[in-house]
Symmetry: C2
Amino acid sequence: MLNYIEPIAKLINQFARLPGVGQKTAQRYALRVVDMSEEEVRAFANALVEAKTKVKVCSVCGNLTDTDPCKICQTRDHSVICVVQEAKDVMAIERLGEYKGVYHVLGGVLNPLQGVNRDDLRFAELFQRLTGDVAEIIVATDTSAEGEATATYIARMVKNYGIKVTRLAQGISIGSELQYADEITLSRAFTNRREM
Amino acid sequence: MLNYIEPIAKLINQFARLPGVGQKTAQRYALRVVDMSEEEVRAFANALVEAKTKVKVCSVCGNLTDTDPCKICQTRDHSVICVVQEAKDVMAIERLGEYKGVYHVLGGVLNPLQGVNRDDLRFAELFQRLTGDVAEIIVATDTSAEGEATATYIARMVKNYGIKVTRLAQGISIGSELQYADEITLSRAFTNRREM
């Protein structure tokens, strides 16, 4: 059996490093690349290198940026800080286009079993930002056990500064049927029910 | 709303050109790239460019290759030629590791509605290869209507040279349940039934 020729094998291995990409998908991507023009492939390669070399972490909020501080930190309302786990959470909230405040990217959540402790996350940088100008901290970590534990820790610490802390609402997803909600979600939806 | 920063937006657009990749998947890939080391990203970029610049089409069989003729044409039995639509079909058959003959890659199938006619495929190159040394042509085009029509055309032409033409067996997939076979497959399975 003759396997892939070397240049294609190498490219398949590179694509297979992307999240959720197996051998078959990587092969499909690699063959698509071979079908592109050389100019297109060079543009792709440049985009890869530039995404790595030009993208930095904002020294204020920890978000991905090509300026420092990032454009969000430069232009938005610093009285509200939304705390998220990862840069992709910032992207999700920015897609809404509704939030006018700034962010703080933790870089993960507390997870002692996997060796992620307080010093591994950007907590110190968050607490440094809690000056008199900050009116509210919105905690938008995931609703996983670790996300909840991290939110609780942040809430306790931030309250020491006399600043309001809020958490994104949890409940049944809009448009979904009640019967398909999992038990914990349904239970929280009852606890957090509001008057109509 | 602030959208993606430019270097990330550019990379997302590049990933979104790959088959089956939407915005969300492209974003996940782009963020994975940002997390790689610069060395890793440069290796990825080089693999892209090399897959394009080093990979050529074999002048004999039309398969992708980094030598000419390709390693399969150089080392294997030329008395049997397996005719396939695309290079990816060669890869699928090579994964089996059972076939010892050579290939002929057509570059597609006859599809007059989409403007693919005889002159657009590598038929002339195939017929040129039909010298006295060739004992059998195995037609392994897809079982689509176009694949069948292409197979029929090849069979008619090759028979003029007095060479045996065979087609890959069609029937119910191994391991699949009869009830889920589509009607055409089931009908062919009856027609091509064999004595036990």
